[in-house]
Symmetry: C2
C-alpha cells in the first residue's frame, strides 16, 4: 500500500472530493490452468497488476463483474494466494471516502456491513463483487468462494438473488462528497431462467429512498450478452431506461469503451476478461481494465488502462484451399502452417517493441505468446497438433494446441466464458 | 467480544500483570460428521464454547494442539463457519499484553509476524496452533487449512518442520510483565519417522537468546503417546529435561491434570479432544479444556474447565456369557442389551441432573447422548445393530451404531485420533 498510495498518475488531474473513482475489472478467473508449467501464474499475476493499478490510480473502490475464480471450489493454493494479494493491496490505513446510505444489512445479508465499516479492520481499498457462473453459490447453504473472502473481510460480496424467479434489486447507495451512486448488482443466474424472469416482469428495481433523480445508476451483471439461441442470453433491451451505465461481465472480449445503444437509453461497458480462458478470436483483443469517473451531475467517463502482464495472443483464421494447390501433401501443409506461425511470431515481436517503445523494462519482459491457427482443411490432410507444436516449444506458451482444424459447415466451437 | 471481555470469573483472583494466562485446547476436529442431522454441529458448537471460555477467563492467548479441522480439505461450509467464529470471538480492540522477543520471521516464516502485530487488524484474542495429522500440510507448496486461517490473519500457525529428518525447534519467545515463555511447537510428523529423528539425535532445541534460565519452556506436540508398536509413538523419555511442561495433542482422552513422570523431569498435560470422533472408552471421559497460569518464577498450574456443550457418552464393555445362560436366543440377547441401554440412559439422566444441579439452563438442555455397548458374544447369536438401534431413535444420538460385537482374541479396533 504505502509504496503506491498517493502516487496517482493518469487520473491525478481529475481527482476531487466529489469525483467518484471506480476501477472496473471482471473475469479474472484466478486459478485458471494453475498446473500449467508455463501459464500457471498468468491469472494471479494479472490480478496483482489490477490491484496495483487501483492503488496507483487512487481508486475509491474496485468493482468486479464475476468469475473472480475459475473453479467453483478453488484449490487451496489459489485461495491462499488470492488472500495474500488482498492482504497486501487492499488492507491499509488509507481512509475510505465512500459513505453508504442504504441499509447494509440488506445489501450484505450475511455479514451486515461493508468491510471497511468494521472497526477491527483497516481496509485501504474496498472491493465489491458479484459472482459469475464459474464461482456461483452451491450446496445447501448456497455458499460460494466469495463468501470465504467476505468472511475474511476482504470483499463486499453482493447481488445474490434469493429467488431467481422473483428478483428484487436493492441498490447499494454510496456517496462521495456530492456524488451519489446507486449500485445495482445481479450475480449470474442460468440465462434461460433470468430471461424468463425478465419477460414475466419479475425483476423489480428499487430506487434509493431519497432524491431519486440525483443518483447515478450503475448496474453490474454477469450473463450472456451475445445471443446463443433464442432465450439463452439477456437482450440489451431488457435494461431499464433509468440505468445510466451497465457493466457487463462474462463476455471475455474487451469492449470497454461505453457504447450508447440505439434502441435503449443506457450505456454499456464490457471490460472483458483479464486472462484468456479460450483461444477464441474475442480473447485475442488486447485486454484492459477501466477507470470509471462519476461526477455529481451524473456525467461519467471511462479511461481504458491496458494490462501489461497479459500474454499477447494472435488468432488467425486460415482456409487451406486459398493457399495451397490441390494435392498438397501433409508435409506441404505442415510447412505452410509453420511459416504462418513464424510470421505471427515476427509480428508479435515488432508489436511488442512498438507498444513498449518508451518502457524499457516492459520491453525486455516479453512473455511467450499464445497462438491459434484455425484451419479449414477440406480437401487436405491434417497434422497432429501436438507434434506440430513441438518445434515451437520455448517460443509459444501453448505449443500443444496452436492448431485447430475444422471443416466448412461445422459450427464454431463454443466455450463457457 | 465486548460482552465477555473483562468479565473474568474463576481466574480473576489470580490475574496480574505478570501472570500469563493461556487456554489449552486440542483436537477440535471442526467439520466432524458435518452431514449428520443430529451430530453435524457438535464440533462447531463446542469450539464456540471454547472461544467463549477464553474470553470469559480473560486468557492472553489460546494455544491449540492440532487437528483443529477433521478433514485435510475442510468443506466450504466448515471453513466459512470457522472463520465466522474467529471473527466474532478473536477480533476486537482488547489490547494484547504479550510481547514477542524472538525473530517473528523465523517463528512464522510465511507471514513474518504474529497476527496481533499487524497494524491493519485489531486482534483481541491471539490464537497459536500447530497442525495435527488430520490437518497436515500437503501438495507441492505444503499448505494446510491453517495457512488459510493465517492468510486471513485469524491464527498464528507455527511448528511446521522444514526437514522431518533434521529438526530445529526455535521457540517463540513471549513476555508478559516479568514472565517469560519459550513456546516450542512441532506439528505432526509420521510417528515412525519422528521416532527415528529423535533416536538419531537430529531434533535440536534452540534456547532463547538471553537469560536462558529465566524462561518457562512449554512444548506442544501432536503424536501418538500410547505405544502402537515399537516405533509408532513418541516415548515420554524423548522429552528433554529443560522442558517444564509438554502439551500433548492427538490423544483424545482427557488427562489434563499435569502428570509428573517418574523417569523424566517434565510435566505432561493431555487435554484430549473436544469432540468424540470414535466411540472408544477414552472418548467417554468427560471433556475439558485447561487454563494454564504461568508465573515469573516459572511455577505453573492448570485449571480444568469442563465443556458443557459436549454430548454425554457412556461406554460399556459386556461379555454375554457372564449375563446369559447357554442357549439364549437372539431375542434373549436383544432384550438383555435393550435393558442395558435403558439402564445407561437412566444413569446419564441422573448424572446430568446432578452435574447441573445449580445451573437450570444447562440442566434443561440435555442433548441426546452417545452410547456404545462393546459386546463379547462367543456362544451367542448377534443382532443387526441398525435394527436394534431403531427403538432408541430420538433417545440416542447414534442409534445406528450403539452395538459393537466382537469375539475374544480379536484385537481392539483402533481409530485414528
Ligand atoms: Mn462467466
Ligand atoms: Mn468468465
Ligand atoms: Mn491427531
Ligand atoms: Mn485428533
Amino acid at each position: 500500500m504505502a509504496d503506491t498510495a498517493g502516487a496517482s498518475t493518469a487520473g491525478a488531474s481529475t481527482s476531487s472530493a466529489n469525483m467518484m473513482r471506480i476501477l472496473l475489472a471482471t473475469d479474472c478467473h484466478l486459478g485458471y490452468l494453475e498446473r500449467d508449467p508455463i501459464r500457471g501464474q498468468d491469472s494471479m499475476r494479472t490480478f496483482e497488476e489490477i490491484l496495483q493499478i487501483a492503488n496507483r490510480e487512487n481508486a475509491d473502490m474496485i468493482l468486479l463483474g464475476g468469475d473472480l475464480f475459475h473453479e467453483n471450489k478453488p484449490s487451496r493454493e489459489t485461495l491462499m494466494h488470492t488472500m495474500e494479494l488482498f492482504r497486501k493491496y487492499c488492507m491499509g490505513s488509507r481512509p475510505c471516502a465512500l459513505q453508504i446510505l442504504s441499509d447494509q444489512r440488506i445489501n450484505f445479508p450475511r455479514f451486515g456491513k461493508a468491510n471497511y465499516m468494521d472497526p477491527n479492520y483497516n481496509v485501504g481499498m474496498p472491493v465489491f463483487s458479484i459472482h459469475g457462473n464459474h464461482d456461483d453459490p452451491s450446496g445447501e447453504q448456497a455458499l460460494c468462494a466469495l463468501d470465504l473472502l467476505a468472511a475474511a473481510n476482504f470483499v463486499n460480496y453482493f447481488g445474490q438473488a434469493q429467488q431467481p424467479d422473483d428478483i428484487e434489486l436493492v441498490p447499494i447507495c454510496i456517496q462521495k462528497g456530492s456524488t451519489k451512486l446507486a449500485l445495482y448488482g445481479l450475480g449470474n443466474i442460468r440465462d434461460e431462467r433470468l430471461h424468463r424472469t425478465f419477460l414475466k416482469k419479475k425483476v423489480k428495481w428499487l430506487a434509493p429512498d431519497e432524491d431519486t433523480d440525483d443518483w447515478f445508476n450503475l448496474f453490474v451483471i454477469h450473463q450472456n450478452r451475445c445471443a446463443h439461441g433464442e432465450r439463452n442470453y439477456i437482450p440489451e433491451t431488457f435494461l431499464p431506461d433509468f440505468v445510466h451505465l451497465t457493466f457487463w461481465g462474462h463476455e471475455h472480449k474487451c469492449e470497454i469503451d461505453p457504447t450508447p445503444r440505439d434502441v435503449i437509453n443506457t450505456y454499456i461497458t464490457q471490460p472483458g476478461s483479464s486472462v484468456a480462458t479460450s483461444l477464441s478470436e474475442g480473447e485475442s483483443v488486447h485486454k484492459h481494465v477501466g477507470m470509471l469517473y462519476i461526477r455529481a451531475d451524473k456525467s461519467f467517463r471511462i479511461t481504458k488502462v491496458p494490462l501489461k502482464t497479459v500474454r499477447a495472443f494472435k488468432f488467425r483464421d486460415l482456409v487451406l484451399a486459398e493457399h495451397l494447390p490441390a494435392g498438397a501433401t501433409e508435409r506441404d501443409v505442415g510447412e505452410f502452417l509453420a511459416a504462418e506461425v513464424e510470421t505471427l511470431l515476427r509480428a508479435l515481436d515488432s508489436e511488442h517493441r512498438a507498444r513498449y517503445r518508451d518502457d524499457a523494462e516492459a520491453r525486455k519482459q516479453m512473455r511467450l505468446p499464445l497462438l491459434r491457427l484455425r484451419v479449414e482443411y477440406t480437401g487436405f490432410p491434417t497434422l497432429g497438433a501436438q507434434r506440430f507444436g513441438q518445434r515451437f516449444a520455448g517460443k509459444v506458451a501453448n505449443p500443444k494446441d496452436i492448431l485447430l482444424f475444422y471443416r466448412k459447415r461445422t459450427s464454431k466451437p463454443k466455450s463457457k466464458a
